[in-house]
Subunit: 233 residues, 2 copies
Amino acid sequence: MAIFYTPDILQNPYLPEEESAHCVRVLRLGDGADIELIDGKGHFFRARIVQAHPKHCQVEILETTEDHSAPCFAHIAVAPTKNPDRIEWFVEKATEVGIGGFAFIHSRYSERKNLKLERMDKIVVAAMKQSMKAIKPVLQDLTDFRKLVVQPFEGQKYICHCNPGKKPLLNNVCRPGTPVLVLIGPEGDFSPEEVTLAMDNGFKPVSLGDTRLRTETAAFVVAHIVQLKNMQE
Amino acid sequence: MAIFYTPDILQNPYLPEEESAHCVRVLRLGDGADIELIDGKGHFFRARIVQAHPKHCQVEILETTEDHSAPCFAHIAVAPTKNPDRIEWFVEKATEVGIGGFAFIHSRYSERKNLKLERMDKIVVAAMKQSMKAIKPVLQDLTDFRKLVVQPFEGQKYICHCNPGKKPLLNNVCRPGTPVLVLIGPEGDFSPEEVTLAMDNGFKPVSLGDTRLRTETAAFVVAHIVQLKNMQE
C-alpha cells in the first residue's frame, strides 16, 4: 500500500502539498482509497482519502499504531564528503538500519564546506518510507567542529580518527541502552588539535578495525554497530 | 603513494596494460619513481619503475610484505538489484570492510537476470586499493539458485528471507573462526520453495532485526556482522 509522510496529520487531516501531488497526480489515487501514513514522531496511520485534491488531499484516519521498535541510539556527526553521493548514501542506509540523529560537521580538513540539508531531509523521508519507520532521525545542519564538541549530550561520546595511537574497538567498548554520539573524521581526517579538543570534551578515541574505510563507510559501520548492540530478539 | 593491481607480478615484472596507462599516461610517473603494488593473493609490494612504458610499464620489486590482517570469512550470495548502482555499492562497501567472496544468484523473483561481472571486478579492485587490501575476494558469476545451494561449502550456511516464522538474529548465532555463506533474497524475496530447498541443503534461516532492509543493505549488513564477529584488537 502507498505510504506518505505527514508530520502534522494529527493537527491537520491533509497530506502536505508534495505528498498530495504524488498521491493524486502520480499514483492517481481517488476518493475512498486506503493509504498508509507516518508522522515521523512515532505513529503509523491507516487512512482513507476523503477528497483527492492534488494539492491538499484530505484524509480520514482509520487506525493509529505506535512504533514499538527499539529506540535508535546512534547519533553520528560526520563531515560532508567531497562527492555528495557518498554522504547521501550514508544518510539513506543509516536511516534504513536505524539511527537517532545526523549532525554534519565543518572541520579543519573538511573537503566540502556546504550541505543541502533539504536534500538530506528528502533522502531520510524516502528511506523511512522504504523501511517502514515512524520515527524520524534528527538532522542537524552543518556546524563548526569546535561548536559541536561542546554541545551538551547525555550518553557515550566517541571519536574515530586515523592519527596514531592504540584505540579500543568501538564494538568492544560501546554499551547498550544509552545514546551514543560518534564523531567521524573527514577525508582529510581530524587535525591533532581537533582530536585533543574532542578528548577534552569527553570523547574517547575508538577504532573500527585494521581496515582503511572511507568517511561514509566508517559512518555507516558505526551506526550499524550501535544498532547491533541494542538489538533484541 | 600510487597503488596498482598486479595479479601476476611475481611471474611477470610488468604492470597490466590498463595499470600501465594509468601510471604513465594519467599519473605521468617516470623511470625511477616508487610505487606500491598489490597482487590480490596476499602480497603488498614496494616497487620502482624501470621503464615507464604506457602499455607495458616495467618495474623492479624492492620489498614484499604479506597481508597479515584477519581472514575474511563472509561469503555473500545475492541477486543483482533492479538498479545496478545498488548492487555495485554493496560490492564496493563489502570489499572495503572485508569479504571472502561474492556470488550472484538468479532466483525465481530476481528483478535482474544479467550482471556485468567485469564491472564488478573493477569495483572490487578499486575498493581493494582504497582500503589497502592485498587479498582479492572471490567473484562467482550469476548462478541459478538451485545450483548454488547444492554447491559444497565448508562452514556455516544461513538464508535471509522475509517469509513469516520466527528466526534467530544472525548476530546471535554466527560463530567466529569459520567461513559463513549467507543467501540474501532479491527485491521480490525468495519463493517458499526456494527457502525449503535451501533449508534441505543445510541453510538456516536468520533475521537481521525488525527493520525492513533493501537487498543491498541486507547484504552489506550481513558482511559487516561476520567481520565484527571475527575482529580482534
